[in-house]
Amino acid sequence: MNAQRKQRLTLVLVIVLGASVAVGLTAYALSQNINLFYSPSEIYMGEAPKDTRIRAGGMVVEGSIRRDPTSLRVEFDITDYAHATTVEYTGILPDLFREGQGIVAQGMLAADGRLIASEVLAKHDENYMPPEVAEALARAGKMPPMPEAAKGY
């Protein structure tokens, strides 16, 4: 490699490294804004702003779903296994919604710390498996039961 090419190679490396450092610092400075949701612990610590729309994410606590028999109103707790937040929502829940499922709810924090949600999204994990395997695991007590929705497929 001659001197001129070496110089150009250095230039290319400087461009890539410079861009990485600039974007890396920006992303680090904005990291809280890049997070899609607040965890129940962050809400508990008061890190989530009141009076504005936020998203909260966590696992739906087993046995915490309380449905209003006369309307679509539903209440449930979400947890990150350290703290829990109660979410109140009126509307149709996504197919994958169930106890033990990760969800992200968007809404406003009420004065008593409850999240009045206007949208509930289901989060699924990176594990895929056939229903028979899931059933076998459930029988062995290692998996949460099948969601209502998946049985229809």
């Binding site: 490699m1 090419r5 150009r8 190679l9 230039l11 290319v12 461009i15 890539v16 861009a19 990485s20 974007v23 890396g24 992303a27 990291s31 890049i34 997070n35 899609l36 949701f37 965890s39 994410g57 829940l93 996504p94 197919d95 994958l96 992200v104 949208e119 509930v120 999204l121 289901a122 989060k123 699924h124 994990d125 990176e126 594990n127 895929y128 498996m129 056939p130 229903p131 028979e132 395997v133 899931a134 059933e135 099948m146 969601p147 998946a150 229809g152 497929y153």
Partner: protein, 247 residues
């Protein structure tokens, strides 16, 4: 530098070698994509949570991989063009951009179609989806910049610099799901661990991924050959070739 590296610099040699490689890759792409599609969509087992809607993974994951791999190819080719002033590398970089943009659109579209039934939303501004959208805009920027500059060599230099600056987005896409809270789930496939799905699910996916790589190779070679002929149209070997084709 090895000899093949300097041979690559010759448009004529490149034109010949791609002509010989094309049929093999084309057959492999058609076979693999057909086998993978039928296996994935009809014979792979459904997911225990998502049922059959998870099958879109057989399109979504390969297109998303490709959109990133093609960007990497484009940036490396651009860097080689910048450093060694290699015309063929410039042509490879230029040929990559529209293919990558098309696959990025496909990845975003299949993701949205998958997101609606499973998450409950077509689009969420989480880090993975947003960085993928930025990748599409980078491709569009590269295409626009390349066609806005008249001089071929200046255009190649400018787009190579843009592609290299945008390279920082690739690790962001990859690690967005680990660095930040996102709605998108983390990677199912990791280099260090076993895949988080059984073989009857990931083998067709692997076939689709390899099939898409072959498909990319075919489209890239076709575009590259056109670009070589267009740029070298005044050279004697292209004239002879055209005469032969006519004759």
């Amino acid at each position: 530098m090895p000899r093949w590296f300097y041979q690559l610099a010759s448009p004529r040699w490149c034109y010949q070698i791609t002509g010989r490689l094309l049929p093999g890759f084309a057959i492999a792409a058609v076979l693999l994509l057909m086998i993978g599609t039928v296996w994935g969509l009809a014979f792979a087992p459904p997911d225990y949570q998502q049922g059959n809607s998870f099958r879109i993974i057989y399109l979504h994951v390969p297109t998303a991989y490709m959109a990133q791999s093609i960007y990497l190819t484009m940036a490396i080719a651009g860097a080689i063009g910048l450093i060694w002033k290699m015309k063929v590398a410039d042509m490879v970089a230029k040929s990559c951009a529209p293919i990558g943009a098309a696959l990025a659109v496909l990845a975003l579209a299949t993701g949205a179609i998958w997101g609606k039934p499973t998450w409950g939303s077509w689009w969420v501004w989480d880090a993975r989806l947003t960085s993928m959208l930025i990748l599409l805009f980078l491709y569009l920027g590269v295409i626009a910049l390349n066609s806005a500059i008249e001089s071929e060599s200046t255009a190649a230099q400018s787009t190579a610099v843009l592609a290299l600056v945008g390279l920082v987005n690739i690790p962001i896409i990859k690690y967005s799901v680990d660095w930040w809270n996102t709605l998108h789930q983390p990677a199912t496939f990791k280099v260090t661990e076993k895949p988080a799905m059984p073989p009857e699910m990931w083998i067709p996916l692997l076939i689709m991924v390899i099939g898409f790589y072959c498909f990319f190779a075919v489209v890239l070679m076709l575009r590259l050959r056109n670009e070589i002929l267009r740029r070298e149209r005044r050279t004697s070997w292209v004239r002879e070739l055209l005469l032969q084709m006519r004759g």
